[in-house]
């Protein structure tokens, strides 16, 4: 952070003086490579750092039975390095991986036979299981052999040594994000590192990493009452659309292969399916030069099909219970819209109206006035800020006060939703929402990574980052009549899915 802080820096926000309104304007530069890869650049020399954000238009919704978990495991494997990083001999590694894969194929085949051996030749079961064990030992020794060429976690080490912050990746349903913040003189390092892993992903240390994602599922879903309940909710709310799988199942992900991942990679990690944002103390010309040099030689890929599957119509209320060692909770879902639906902005205003802050309809009613809940909150799944690629669900999460039933909590929630459909919102409340929409956009530019994420996500979803201005205008044009219409159409009783956590007593093995 240089002294330019005290001087008037780059004036990113132009103040719209008319009517005292204050609206965000972003000074974004944009270019597209011949292969279709899109770059957004914000030059902001406040501190000598930058954030790089790469978004790939693929996520778990693109999976089908047989390769479920590919998007997430592939994202993990992208940290294993590349051709230039993490290895002392790329070719030797390839050979060993092929051997590992063929042994894995034999293990997989033998495991499939186990149930028939057990049924038809039970006397041979022991020998069969020993055979599988011996194959597993071979796989371990091959992994050991591969490891001699591995420079473990070098991808992380290089970024770490160079002072990286916020280095991570996230897998969503329609998008996968790779991001990092670095000192600004490391711009070329970032381009080299990212381009090499996007050209030559390394399926290094594959089998242990498969166990790691299985452990991640245990920790994040199976042993978390909130997400365990949410998995039931989502699995019940969706019948046909791939959004039904909140988190990949362990039975699927522990059977994924390198081939599954490479097929997935080759199909979706193509330049025309990626958007990049670079925000910070960088120059457009440098970004363009490095983009051409490092990403320009990736050939344009073959366009893939969108997801044609639509969610089938909900025909009545759906309910699901989770009996679990935890306190009571209730989650309620309503099907919503996709980002390009005319009703989407109305939905976003409704979400803020019922769920944003202490003055929101639900918090005010359930926590403060009726005192039925410890907490209540609202979000949208999958929950892209600009709307989702396919229609998602709006969810209400309520945590009852001691000795309050979920039945009473539900009744109070439905009362508020019915009010939304029948009584026009007063203008002061609507103005509050619109003020918050403007403010959120201004704050989104507060740090480099936040702005990079906001811009790249908008670009990837809508194919034009400037859509964020259009959405703002649409949000601000929402009327009380729109809200009543959308609430009565989408938030009707027969359109909801309810998941309830029913507490089990501490039931473990405690002698």
């Amino acid at each position: 952070m240089s002294k330019s802080v005290v001087v008037l820096g780059i004036l990113m926000m132009l103040l719209a003086s008319s009517l005292g309104a204050q609206e965000a304007q972003f000074d974004v530069k944009q270019f597209t490579l011949d292969n279709g890869m899109n770059f957004l650049v914000v030059e902001r020399p406040t501190a000598p750092v930058f954030s790089g954000f790469i978004i790939v238009g693929v996520g778990s919704a693109n999976e089908r039975t047989g390769n479920i978990g590919s998007a997430h495991l592939l994202e993990h494997m992208m940290f294993k390095g590349s051709k230039l990083v993490g290895t002392t001999d790329w070719d030797a590694e390839q050979d060993l991986w092929a051997k590992e894969d063929s042994v894995w194929a034999r293990i997989d085949m033998a495991r499939r036979q186990t149930r028939y051996v057990a049924l038809n030749n039970p006397e041979k079961l022991d020998a069969h299981l020993k055979f599988i064990e011996s194959l597993e030992t071979i796989l371990d020794s091959l992994a050991e052999a591969s490891s001699q060429y591995v420079i473990q976690n070098e991808f992380d080490r290089i970024y770490t040594r160079n002072g990286a912050a916020q280095f991570n990746a996230t897998t969503g349903y329609d998008f996968t994000n790779y991001f990092v913040s670095l000192p600004s003189n490391r711009l070329e390092l970032w381009f080299l590192m990212e381009s090499d892993r996007l050209k030559h992903p390394a399926m290094r240390e594959f089998f242990p990493e498969r166990d790691v994602v299985a452990e991640e599922r245990r920790q994040s879903v199976e042993n978390s009452s909130d997400l365990k309940l949410f998995e039931q909710l989502i699995g019940t709310a969706f019948i046909s659309h791939p959004y039904q799988i909140f988190w990949e199942w362990r039975s699927e992900e522990t059977n994924l292969t390198r081939d599954d991942l490479m097929t997935f990679f080759n199909t979706y990690y193509i330049p025309q399916n990626m958007a990049v944002a670079v925000v910070g103390d960088v120059k457009l010309d440098d970004v363009r030069k490095f983009a051409e040099k490092y990403f320009g030689d990736i050939p344009r890929g073959k366009d893939f099909e969108p997801i044609y599957t639509e969610e089938i119509e909900q025909t009545g209320e759906r309910r699901v219970d989770l009996h679990y060692e935890s306190s009571p909770a209730v989650n309620i879902s309503y099907h919503g819209t996709a980002f390009d639906s005319p009703d989407e902005p109305v939905f976003q205003v409704i979400q803020r109206l019922i769920g944003d802050g202490r003055t929101s309809r639900l918090y005010k009613s359930l926590v403060l006035d009726k005192q039925l809940c410890v907490d209540v909150s609202v979000d949208v799944f999958p929950g892209n800020e600009m709307g989702d690629l396919y229609p998602g669900v709006m969810n209400i999460y309520a945590y009852p006060r001691d000795e309050v039933t979920t039945i009473d909590v539900e009744a109070a929630i439905y009362e508020e939703l019915h009010k939304l459909a029948t009584v026009p919102v007063d203008s002061l409340e609507l103005t509050k929402i619109k003020n918050n929409i403007d403010a959120a956009m201004i704050w989104s530019a507060y740090d480099n990574l936040g702005l990079a994420s906001y811009l790249a996500s908008t670009q990837a979803l809508t194919k034009d980052w400037k859509y964020l201005y259009k959405l703002r205008d649409k949000l601000k044009a929402v009327t009380p009549e729109d809200i009543m219409r959308v609430a009565s159409q989408y938030l009707a009783d027969e359109k909801r899915t309810v998941a309830t956590l029913i507490p089990l007593e501490n039931g473990g093995d405690n002698e």
């Binding site: 240089s2 820096g9 940290f79 230039l84 040594r161 060692e325």
Partner: protein
């Protein structure tokens, strides 16, 4: 023929390796000069110490007011008092505004005020658009100077806090952390947690007294950054905080925490398919100069994510965990070192032993020069990210002032990291690291574990009863 092909091949290889192909590992960059702006500093007539950074990049302002005090000063039978005082300042009405009006006025202007009590301070934070600064600062001042502590809201806040206590065993990670702190600090205030009874004991009069005692201008340090000038700040503070009367505050001295626990395994029963592990021991205070070398050493041990031994061995190589690591916590009255991991129940003992082995290896044989260089370069090159927004920078100065640290601490800290040597790293490793006299907390279902828990020491069953 063959030879020629090979030779050409070698030549091509040489060209590609040395002539064109650059490897990220070989790319060297000069260190970014760490030259952050220095906040402007002044003290108001009534004693508020202010750190201000002017920044016109966005039409926004952030203001954080810090006050010495906080959880450490709670009486033992009223644990939760500081926390309730802070939340009721925000939620119990202020000045002429009733609680609902405070909420509405702030949210209508898309502004945010947070009131929190920490271990040894309160933090009252405002985030606001510049255009609403006058109005929102007025509300902030009312919250700090004239909280109403509405009787009905006191009752509500207390009962909601008790319901949150009733939910304290829902999350295995939260259980493990709580039991670890309670055990390792024992009867020291650092080990106290609010209970149903301690919340019951707190009266509205206690809350009023607590507020009156700590929220005085000469105990207030402010970090302000954003779209205003120094003169704007002075005028604003004069207008809203000018009449705030000085009052003497004497803080009672608190004893240092000492090792009083019985080493061994503390088992919290929960019917889950993983073991949630946290273990460690007391370490050093936040003024101990060994912390710089310890920090660098611990980076290699378990703090440096994928660049640490724990992550490499337990996660990357063995695939036994998604989350694993070790961290020091430096605290005024004695910090601690802990390691944590979440692994499937059947691999508990294997994983725990692996973590002990990593620690013992570092204690006995030290880290390598290469590991130390990586840790130092990461710390030094990444140092700027602690101060890369005006708000982070102003708050860093305010927190150092609060703690009584020198003003140039953010610069001298960097120099101290630069001065760390391998010898010093390995000396602190040997002196501080320990896997024998430690508290090991395990939450899970022991019926599923791969070895009995007493493999790792005498086992104490932790009561999960809500008190």
């Amino acid at each position: 023929m063959n030879k020629i092909v090979i030779m050409i091949g070698l030549l091509l290889l040489a060209v590609s390796a040395f002539g064109q192909q650059q490897y990220p590992r070989d790319m060297k960059f000069p260190q970014i000069e760490f030259n952050p702006a220095t906040p402007q500093e002044f003290t108001t007539d009534n004693g508020i110490k202010v750190f201000f950074l002017e920044d016109h990049k966005l039409p926004v302002v952030t203001l954080n007011a810090y006050f010495k005090g906080g959880d450490i000063y709670d009486p033992q039978d009223k644990v939760g008092l500081a926390s309730l005082t802070a939340s009721l300042m925000r939620n119990g009405g202020a000045g002429k505004l009733n609680p609902d009006q405070v909420d509405f006025d702030l949210e209508f202007l898309a502004a945010n005020i947070n009131c929190n009590s920490g271990e040894r301070d309160y933090n009252i934070g405002l985030r606001t658009l510049r255009k609403d600064l006058d109005k929102t600062t007025g509300i902030l001042a009312d919250i700090i100077l004239k909280p109403a502590f509405d009787t009905a809201k006191v009752t509500l806040e207390k009962s909601v806090t008790q319901d949150q206590i009733r939910r304290q065993n829902d999350d295995p990670g939260q259980v493990t952390r709580r039991v670890f702190y309670q055990t390792i600090y024992g009867d020291h205030p650092y080990g106290w947690y609010a209970t149903l009874a301690s919340i019951d004991n707190i009266t509205r009069a206690d809350i009023i007294d607590c507020h009156k005692k700590y929220f005085v201008p000469d105990n207030c340090i402010m970090a302000i950054s954003g779209d205003m000038t120094l003169n704007d700040v002075k005028v604003l503070l004069k207008k809203y905080f000018g009449d705030w009367k000085k009052a003497e505050l004497t803080l009672s001295a608190k004893a240092m925490a000492e090792t009083s626990y019985k080493p061994g395994v503390y088992y919290a029963q929960k019917d889950i398919n993983q073991a949630n592990i946290r273990f460690g021991h007391l370490l050093m205070t936040d003024e101990n100069p060994d912390q710089y070398a310890f920090e660098i050493m611990n980076f290699a041990l378990g703090g440096g994510g994928f660049s640490s031994r724990m992550m490499s061995q337990v996660r990357t190589t063995a695939g036994l965990a998604y989350s694993v690591g070790s961290y020091p916590v430096y605290r005024q009255l004695m910090g601690l070192h802990f390691s944590y991991c979440v692994t499937k129940a059947e691999s508990l003992s294997k994983t725990l032993q692996m973590m002990f082995d990593v620690i013992n290896e570092v204690r006995n044989n030290g880290i390598t020069a290469e590991e130390m260089e990586l840790a130092k370069e990461s710390t030094i090159n990444g140092y700027i990210f602690g101060f890369d927004t005006p708000s982070k920078l102003a708050n860093a100065y305010a927190r150092n002032e609060l703690r009584g640290f020198p003003k140039d601490k953010i610069k001298t800290d960097l120099e101290k990291y630069q001065a760390v040597t391998l010898e010093k790293c390995n000396q602190v490793a040997k002196f501080y690291l320990n896997t024998d006299d430690i508290v090991i907390v395990i939450t899970g279902n022991k019926g599923l574990f791969d070895k009995p828990l007493d493999t790792f020491g005498p086992v104490t069953d932790v009561s999960m009863e809500i008190q």
